[in-house]
């Protein structure tokens, strides 16, 4: 499979009163053409910052991308001029945010907000871009799209708003869609519908998807490959079946143990003890070392590199180190 997106050594820092805090550190991964990849981790682990860094939407100040490259079809997005980058946003790469309530501008109609992106990137006139926007509303299965075009965000339900966000993101046939917790803020029943919609549209539009979520169970149904993120670094990267059948990193095991399972009778959910480390006071060795049940001495001293445990299954853990 050909690579669409290649992230290498990405590092994003935020200035705080106590000095720079590194939210994303040395993150590298690839997304193939047409591939759907999940990025999983607890809130605050750097998933969203990774997504915003790819889009170069980190607000500066306080944030700044200090190292790395983001190659889209071999073109380094971090080296583009602001103007060139605007041509990529919404056109080659689109993003759907978590909060459909606050992510739509309350003073413009939903249709206008979609139309704006279309006319910007495709140079269509008002009439043509409007027709296209209505088409997009139809595509995301909003009933009566002609009429709903003129609705304001507050006149729509949460699920409908998220459909509008998706329509906006897909309006220019992007090659990569980043979905940042697209269903988290919604009702459980609506969540499933939105996920199903994304799944269908992905097939239809032949795009790559980076699905960001804190919920491993969502990932299992949606994606082909999963990256697990912890405290700003990727700790495991594997195909879904590999990950679920033989998790390498103790953190991944902990995450899996905390998924409620219907088929196994468990007394209680295993929740990982401890807290995510403060980005200003990272442990010297492995970042998970202070919570890890399988910690060895080396973990406290030295940060492990990514080890290939076979078949492209990567893990950042000394226990996965190949025995010499």
């Amino acid at each position: 499979m050909e690579n669409l997106l290649e992230v290498k050594g990405l590092r994003t820092e935020f200035m705080t009163e106590e000095g720079p805090a590194c939210a994303v550190d040395n993150v590298s991964f690839v997304i193939g053409k047409g591939e759907t990849v999940g990025l999983v981790g607890e809130s605050g682990c750097g998933k969203s910052v990774t997504a915003l860094s790819i889009m170069r939407l980190i607000s500066d100040p306080p944030g700044r991308i200090t190292a790395g490259s983001v190659l889209l079809d071999g073109r380094d997005l971090l080296a583009l001029s602001p103007k060139e980058m605007r041509g990529v946003r919404g056109n080659d790469i689109s993003i759907v945010f978590q909060e459909p309530l606050s992510s739509l501008n309350p003073v413009f109609t939903c249709g206008e907000q979609i139309r704006e992106a279309i006319s910007l990137h495709q140079g269509l006139g008002r009439k043509d871009s409007r027709a296209k926007a209505v088409e997009m509303l139809r595509l995301v299965r909003i009933p009566d799209p002609e009429k709903r075009y003129s609705d304001y965000p507050h006149q729509m339900s949460g699920g409908m708003r998220q459909r509008v966000m998706i329509a906006m993101a897909l309006s220019c046939q992007p090659r990569l869609l980043i979905a940042d917790e697209p269903s988290t803020a919604l009702d459980v029943s609506v969540q499933a519908q939105i996920m199903e919609l994304l799944l269908d549209l992905r097939e239809e539009m032949e795009m790559s998807v980076l699905l960001i979520t804190h919920d491993l169970s969502v990932v299992a149904q949606m994606v082909e490959r999963v990256m697990v993120m912890y405290a700003g670094v990727i700790v495991e990267d594997a195909s879904v079946s590999d990950l679920f059948s033989r998790p390498e990193h103790p953190y991944t095991e902990g995450l899996m143990a905390s998924i409620p399972r219907l088929d196994v009778d468990v007394e209680r959910l295993d929740v990982i003890p401890g807290r995510v480390p403060d980005p200003l006071r990272m442990p010297a060795g492995c970042r998970f070392s202070d919570r890890c049940p399988k910690r060895i001495d080396r973990c406290l001293l030295e940060e492990p590199p990514m080890f290939d445990t076979g078949g492209g299954h990567l893990a950042r853990c000394w226990l996965s180190a190949p025995t010499p």
Binding site: M55, L57, P82, K83, R86, G87, V88, R89, G90, N91, S94, I95, F97, E99, S102, S103, L104, N105, P106, V107, F108, Q113, E116, A117, L120, H121, Y152, H154, Q155, M165, M168
Partner: protein, 325 residues
Amino acid sequence: MVGYFIRRFLQSLLLIWIVLTITFFLMHLAPGDPMARYDHPDISPETVRMMREQLGLDRPVLEQYFRWAGSFVTGDFGTSLRYNRPVGELLKVAIPNTLRLTVASLFLYMVIGIMLGMVSAARRYSVFDRMTTVISLFLYSVPSFWLALMLILFFSLKLGVLPSSHIQSLDVSGLSGLQLFADRISHLILPAFVLGVASAAGLARYMRGSMIDVLKEDYIRTARAKGLPEGRVLMKHAFRNAAIPIVTIMGLSLPFLLGGAVIVEKIFSWPGMGGLMVDAIYTRDYPVVLAINFVVAVMVILGNLLADTGYALLDPRIRSGRRGR
């Protein structure tokens, strides 16, 4: 939307009625007989008696109130004691002049206040932003009469480029239409600047704060994620939202503009309501004083009604009758 407008309209009517009542009480608040103040050798007892009758002061208070309120509402404000002419006639000249000044000031106020605020917000903590903050603080604290004198000293007396008083040159007979227009504009510049720019300092601070709040919103990130140029993000997506509270602020600033007009008109010998008011105070010309109070209050209330309508038009959440977050 229609319901909202009707409700606001009725509220405004209620306010106007209360102002009318307050004005009536102001007249009766002063100790003793209101007419005792005209106990003056130049005014004959006959005149006083006629005035008393004209003002209806010989009738029961309640009847006085209704008669008086009725005549006020129909635009009959009585007769000026000083000019011995109907107050309505004096106002007919003064109101358009005051409006010309306040509208020009309001324009300066809006344009300067909004632009400074937006640029400050977009370039937060820049040199420009800090400069604007300092200048705003200064203008906010400067007495308008002093600012006016300093500008007159500099632009009229030292440089001689702008006229220091009156609405137009004394002799305008030889001027063409365009020249007359230019002449009037040149007379308008200094007073409108004093009145508008000093208040614009406050508006700029509000606008800056409002823009900074809006720029933190998720939908601004969405607009950027769409690939919109920063200018469009600011001017279209941020501005429309930031302007909503600003419309209310503009309505609320009307009393300050009209109040400031009192001083500015006096200094620049501008023949408007403010100057008329001050002269009426010196000569204790009561009917004029009360009429001007009433007219100014009505202007403020109607201005606020206008601002609220603008608010509703800008905010679709109110327009569709449901208050959003």
